[in-house]
């Protein structure tokens, strides 16, 4: 992060680096501010801290300054409620919070980012060995998790990026997300300009496209859909784009088509990545899914992706070093096999493409019928001879997915009991539509309570 900023500032100090609602900042200004932040962190003895800040300029200054002096930043959503922030900060052991907000109270010290940026600049030539940062996993309920990363490893993903100063990238992701950090890194590596409105809703994106000369956008398919819909409803013609990147969800063929129609000549890329494992694959052919050639196998032994039981499994690429709380590591052996981890993404290989079929933890799409796992699970769990049940989607070529269930029979069960139990299960779900009825019943000794997935898809 700091190395990318230093290099860009040395080569193009007057080039605009970040454009936000609060103004435009050049690479030279950004570097100076980052060095001041570094000096401020050292002066105040801050070795790790929470950040609650919406402004991308300040965020980059803080991240780069912290990287220079080896202090570990961790971003929280800028609009997080005070009580939730206090709980999460306590769980991650943050006792210093850098924020301009005045409503955050708890057993922590609050430092204004502008106070740090007013310090004497740190003049060391470059960062030390460790340039740590924490990335909180998004959307978790219950205990939050944070992945430990290091900029020196994250930076490898942009090591081959060549300068493209004319590019103007929209920041459509939150800068606290792995995908948002990827966009920021990419912009710094290419000496381009980051256009970062706040809030970061699709309608703000439309405004940025219309008024800020954005040329490149990386966003989720859902964001793209809403951005296109917003432009349609306003009756505005969107300017041409050079690059459209999609990630975070499966990219449907009709959306890819619509992007090409809306932005003639645009280059469309899809990225597959996760907070824990970094970017692991990308495709640029504009077709849905991934090329099956990216999968692990004899022809591709170094791949980070494989398919197992219709689910995509991943192993670390430019990945994290571990979790912030060591006790959460390997908490879930059912989700791990050696270095491989479940992603929770259901996939199917069709005609040489790895196509995404939804999430194991979500609604199951059975031949177009949306099945909610819970009612199925409740009926089966209610049986006297069932100790526990877990309903999930299993990829299938014929129907996209089928409803599958893992059942823990109560007490030791012999084969005859299991046959009877299978019938009981069939009867228990007989009132549900046929697509909802489990087509795969497996009897197991125990069910791993996975709660939120340890691996999520979040990408740039």
């Amino acid at each position: 992060m700091i190395l990318l900023l230093e290099r860009a500032a040395a080569e193009a100090p007057d080039h605009p680096a970040v454009v936000t609602g609060e103004g435009t900042t050049t690479y030279g200004e950004l570097r100076t501010a980052a060095r001041r932040v570094a000096g401020g962190l050292v002066a105040q003895g801050v070795t790790r801290f929470a950040m609650v800040e919406p402004d991308a300029t300040r965020i980059v200054q803080l991240l780069a300054g912290a990287a220079l002096v080896g202090s570990e930043p961790c971003q929280y959503q800028a609009d997080m409620a005070p009580a939730e922030f206090a709980a999460q900060a306590e769980s991650l052991g943050h006792d210093v919070v850098v924020t301009r907000r005045t409503d955050l109270e708890g057993p922590f010290r609050v430092i204004d980012p502008d106070e740090l940026a007013g310090a004497e600049p740190d003049t060391r030539p470059g960062p030390g060995e460790a340039q740590p940062l924490l990335i909180r996993t998004t959307g978790t309920t219950g205990v939050p998790k944070a992945a430990r990363h290091d900029w020196s490893i994250l930076g490898r993903t942009v090591a081959t990026v060549s300068p493209r100063p004319q590019q103007r990238w929209l920041l459509a992701y939150g800068p606290h997300q792995f995908a948002g950090l990827q966009v920021i890194q990419h912009v710094l590596a290419s000496r381009a300009t980051l256009v970062a409105p706040f809030p970061r809703q699709p309608r703000d994106g439309v405004d940025a496209l219309l008024t800020e000369g954005v040329t490149c956008v990386s966003a989720t398919p859902t964001y793209w859909r809403f951005l296109l819909a917003e432009a349609r409803s306003r009756g505005v013609a969107l300017p041409a784009l050079e690059q459209a990147t999609l990630g975070g969800e499966a990219s449907p063929a009709d959306l890819l088509e619509e992007l090409r129609a809306t932005f003639p000549g645009v280059r469309v890329s899809q990225v597959y990545a996760s907070t824990e494992f970094g970017s692991v694959a990308s495709v640029r052919d504009g077709r849905p899914g991934l090329d099956a050639a990216v999968l692990h196998g004899e022809a591709n032994p170094t791949s980070h992706l494989r398919v197992h039981d219709g689910e995509l499994w991943v192993r670390a690429g430019a990945g994290m070093l571990g979790y912030a709380d060591a006790s959460t590591e390997a908490a879930d052996p059912a989700d791990a096999d050696g270095e491989w981890r479940r992603t929770g993404d259901l996939v199917e290989v069709v005609d040489g493409r790895v196509l995404f079929r939804g999430r194991t933890s979500e609604v199951i799409n059975v031949g177009g019928v949306k099945v909610h796992p819970l009612p199925v699970e409740e009926r089966i769990s209610a049986l006297d001879s069932v100790a526990a049940a877990r309903v999930f989607g299993r990829a299938n070529r014929l129907t996209g997915a089928i409803v599958a269930v893992e059942v823990v029979p109560l007490g030791g069960a012999d084969d005859a009991d299991l046959d009877r139990l299978r019938e009981q299960i069939r009867d228990a779900v007989a009132d549900l539509p046929r697509a909802w009825q489990p087509r795969s019943v497996a009897f197991v000794d125990s069910i791993q309570t996975r709660g939120d997935k340890t691996v999520r898809r979040v990408e740039a």
Binding site: G367, L398, T399, I402, S440
Partner: protein, 81 residues
């Protein structure tokens, strides 16, 4: 060996689905007037085969099997390969 296992899985599937296997032969069509499998039943058979044999012709073969014999043939090819 694989073929015999597949045969057993098909019998098991038919029993579970409440379909008769009395007149079953290799020529029995899976769909239409034969076993009259619909897509959900075919999906169920495919995962049962996959669970026992690791792979199944509904997912892996270029063309969907049309008869009981097509399923068995898939495993003959697999096991001799």
């Amino acid at each position: 060996m694989a073929v015999e296992k597949a045969r057993a899985v098909i019998a098991e599937f038919l029993a579970r689905a409440g379909k008769s296997s009395d007149d079953l032969s290799d020529e029995t069509p899976l769909f239409g007037e034969g076993l009259a499998l619909d897509s959900l039943e075919a999906a169920e058979l495919s995962v049962m085969l996959e669970d026992v044999l690791g792979t199944d012709p509904f997912s892996s073969a270029e063309q969907l099997p049309q008869t009981v014999g097509d399923i068995l043939a898939f495993y003959e090819v697999s096991s001799s390969a």
